[in-house]
Every structure is written in C-alpha cells, then in structure tokens.
C-alpha cells in the first residue's frame, strides 16, 4: 500500500532516553524528537532512525544491545514507559511502532538492578546471569555428536515442562520488572528446565543449591511474589516456575 493512500501513516514521537557515557559517569534522561516513523518499524529500527540523525548531527548515537532481532537471543532489553520490553509481551526487537500513537512521548531506560551495572546508555552488563548458569545450569556429560534420541526415555509431561522452561532467553526482563531486582524467574526457569529431565537428575540437588547460592551472591533481591516478572517475561515463563524451584531447593537442602 502506497503512502499516498494512507497519508497519516508516519508518526512523530518524542523520546526521553537515558544517556550515560560509561559505567562510572552520571546519567540522565535526554529528550529527542523523531519523525517519519512507520508503524511497521520495530522499536529498534525506530532507535536506528534516531541514531542516524544523531550521527548526521555529529552527536553520539544511543548505545543499545541487539543481536538476532527476531526475538530469540534476549540481547535487546530496555524499559519502555516503565515496562520491560514495552507494552507488548515480546522482546523490544519484536515490538512494533504500531503499538504507539503519533505524538506520543516514550520513556526509554536501561534495566535497573544492582546486579546489572549500566555499561553505557541502555546497555547493561548481564553477565551475572551467565555466572548463575555457570553454577549449575548445565549437565556434566561428555558432549559430541547427538545421542540416539530413544536412548533415554523422557515422559511427555516432563518433556513439555522442560520445553516451557527452556524457552527462557536470559534477557533479564524479569529482573528489570521485579521491584526487588530479583532473578528468581530466570533461575527457576534454568533449574526446572534440567531438573525435570532424566538427564538432569544426577545433579538435581547440587544444581539448585549452587545456582541459588550464586544468584544470592550476585546481589539480586529476594522474591516477594509480586508476579511482575512473569507478567514481563517475553517468553511466558509461568509464575509457578518459582514455586517449583522453591520446592526443589527445600528438597535439596533437606536431603544433604
């Protein structure tokens, strides 16, 4: 459909974006105007448009993380109008500008958590999540070529539960949305993903104990069951995932 037939397609927006030159510098919200934003653009493409004009004007472009731009890598986290990944239940790269209106003012901020220091502008260091994985979010087994699929029988409900939890892309939206900056939903997804499978059973206890210990050591807050995390999660990791990890943890703690 051509632009002539849809004359009011393009939007003009006011953006208030967190700018911070580096981790140690003070930051603040800065206001920018963007024009000619198509409703079919993704939020990141809108930011690309802004950055092009900033570069043309000789200003520093807004730094933000992004990689796959198809909603599976979890790199593109930012808080849009107070919501992790913005108003839709998806990643920022899959959020389209049609969910905003012409003339809107949009606030864009980085993930806020003590465990996620700001690197620059909207980029935060999420390696704390990697260290939680490193404390048990794997199976200690020689890898190599894929094993024969029928060698280990997995009950269908266990496979379904594992897949649900395996959807977590580690974007950190749960931490950003939680008023306590807690990584419980992330950690529970990773713990449950492996603990429900027979392959994960040998390290079932050390996994949950180690990952929770690391999660606490990284300075994430505790869970007060507000449910903000599961509401923000672009992959729909469900709230009962947290209760399931609590059960695993208490079981493991009692068993040792």
């Amino acid at each position: 459909m051509s632009d002539e037939r849809r004359p009011n397609r393009h939007m003009r927006l006011t953006l208030r974006i967190w700018r911070q030159p580096d981790a140690s510098a003070d930051g603040g919200m800065r206001t920018y105007e963007v024009e000619d934003i198509s409703p079919d653009m993704s939020f990141l493409e809108m930011l690309d448009t802004l950055n092009e004009t900033l570069i043309e004007r000789g200003e520093e472009p807004v730094a933000f993380d992004h990689d796959c731009r198809e909603g599976i890598c979890g790199a593109c986290g930012m808080v849009i109008n107070g919501q992790a990944h913005g108003p839709e239940r998806t990643t920022t790269c899959q959020l389209h500008m049609r969910h905003f209106s012409d003339g809107d003012t949009i606030d864009v901020e980085p993930w806020r958590a003590a465990a996620f220091p700001v690197v620059r502008d909207l980029v935060v260091d999420r390696s704390a999540l990697d260290r939680v994985i490193g404390a048990g979010g794997y199976i200690t087994a020689p890898t190599g070529s894929a094993p024969e699929a029928h060698a280990t029988a997995v009950p269908k409900p266990a496979a379904d539960a594992a897949f649900t939890h395996a959807e977590c892309i580690g974007c950190g939206a749960c931490v950003a949305a939680c008023p306590n900056g807690s990584a419980m939903l992330f950690t529970s997804a990773k713990v449950n993903h492996l603990n429900v499978l027979p392959q994960g059973a040998p390290e079932r206890e050390s996994r949950v104990l180690g990952m929770v210990e690391q999660m606490d050591a990284e300075g994430f807050g505790g869970c007060t069951l507000t449910g903000e995390c599961a509401t923000a999660c672009p992959k729909g990791i469900p709230m009962p995932s947290i209760a399931a990890m609590n059960r695993e943890y208490l079981r493991a703690a009692a068993k040792r």
Binding site: M29, R112, N180, E228, A244
Partner: protein, 254 residues
C-alpha cells in the same frame, strides 16, 4: 603423533562443559541445613512462611475465641480461665498459655528478622528507580512491609492493653470481658484496633498464598485452593476481629 593425540584430547575436553567451579560433585562440603537455609534468600523466605503460618493458625484460634464476647461475661471469662487450666494436671496452671507465648514469640522474632534482612537486600538490589513510574502489584502486595511494621507496633499496644492491662482503662486480670468493653469505649482504642485488623487482613491475603508458593505448592488444583483460601482467611479474620470493637461501639456488647 603423541602431540597430535594430545591436541585431539585437549580439543575433545575443550568441547565439554567446563567443570563446575562452585559446586564440585563428590564430597559434600556445604554447611548444615540451618545455616544453608538462614544464609539464602529462599531459606529465609521458608522461615518467614512457616513462622507466618504458625501465627496465622494462632490468629484463627484467637479470633474464634474472641467471638465468646457475644455470649456474655461469664462465658468469655470462663473461656479465658479455661485457657489457663488447659493441660492440667499434666501442665501447671497457665503453662499451656506460656508454651503458646514462647512459640509465638519465636515466630514473631524469626518472621521480623527475616523480613528486615530480606527487605534490606531487596532495596539494595534496586538502587536506581525508574524515571517512568507506573502502578505496580496489588495493594496487599505493596503494603506488606509497612503493614508488617504497623502490626509489630500494634502487638506492643495490644499486649499492654489486654494482656498486662497497663494501658487499659480497667485492666483487671481475670476479667477480659470487662476490660474489652472498657477499652473499646475509647475512640482511639477502636481506631488503633481497626487499623491493625485491616492491616492483618491485607497481610494474610498476600502472605498466605505467598507462603504456599514459598513452600513449593505448584499443582494447579492446590494452587487455586491456597489462592482462594488466602482471600477467605483474610476476610474471615478481618470480619471476626472487627466484630468485637463494632459490637462494643454499637452497644451489642455491654
């Protein structure tokens, strides 16, 4: 040749998952159960859940006992006396009550200390707030901390009022009915009590369902039961406790 084999072996091991640094499989080297639980956020939450459930069980019994006030001074005071003779002759006079008080004190202290430490941690975990604020969570969820502080302060007042009788206008031991009526004739005693009862209702509404999740209730059927149970309990306890000052204020209890 040997070098080639070693290279292949190195590559083979390199493709394996790196050995865990923090949780080596094999000999257990972790601290005991109590230290593990007290040292982790999940463990402290479990302490809060269990101590909260103990206090909740007491509150249900307490609320039902309070309803005796509607059956007159003899029944109320007789019930209060029976509580002190409960367990006799195995227990000495009032020992049962003191056992309950010791358990409750331990529950209050553990609940409060855990809440304080976890809250400090939670606040530190979000040092910078968002510029764009939006309403978050339910009222019951947001008021857990302040509600808890209100309840702790009320406990002090409540014990001075109706246990020791220090701040009660009558304060006569063995006559709870008369003390209750005398106390609730003061408007400020009513206000303090009503605020505290509303706070405890909200606290239970979020707390009971949270305790269930903290202790690992995951099955959908059980989850529905606990979630609904939280609302029912909160409402029953609020209405039950409110009925006493309302009864005195309306002259139903005299």
């Amino acid at each position: 040749m040997v070098r080639a084999v070693r290279t292949v072996l190195t590559m083979a091991t390199a493709t394996r998952t790196p050995a865990p640094q923090r949780t080596p499989p094999g000999p257990p080297r972790r601290p005991g159960l109590v230290r593990t639980l007290w040292g982790s956020t999940l463990g402290k939450k479990a302490v809060m859940a269990v101590s909260g459930l103990i206090m909740l069980a007491y509150l249900v019994a307490h609320m039902l006992g309070n309803l005796k006030v509607f059956f007159g001074p003899e029944e109320m005071n007789g019930y209060a006396h029976w509580l002190r003779t409960l367990g006799e002759p195995v227990l000495h006079y009032a020992w049962f009550l003191w056992l309950v008080r010791v358990v409750l004190l331990a529950a209050v202290v553990l609940h409060g200390v855990s809440a304080y430490q976890l809250s400090r941690r939670d606040i530190a975990a979000r040092p910078v707030t968002y510029q764009h604020r939006r309403p978050r969570a339910s009222y019951a969820t947001r008021t857990m901390r302040w509600g808890g502080i209100i309840l702790a302060l009320f406990l002090v007042w409540h014990i001075l009022d109706l246990t020791t009788g220090t701040v009660n206008p009558r304060g006569q031991a063995g006559h709870p009915y008369e003390n209750i009526v005398a106390g609730f004739r003061n408007w400020y005693a009513d206000v303090i009590y009503i605020v505290a009862v509303l706070a405890v209702g909200l606290h239970i509404r979020h707390g009971f369902w949270s305790a269930a999740q903290t202790l690992g209730v995951t099955r959908p059927g059980a989850a529905r039961l606990f979630k609904g149970g939280a609302d029912v309990l909160a409402l029953a306890i609020t209405v039950g406790f409110l009925s006493v000052p309302v009864g005195v204020m309306t002259g139903l209890v005299d």
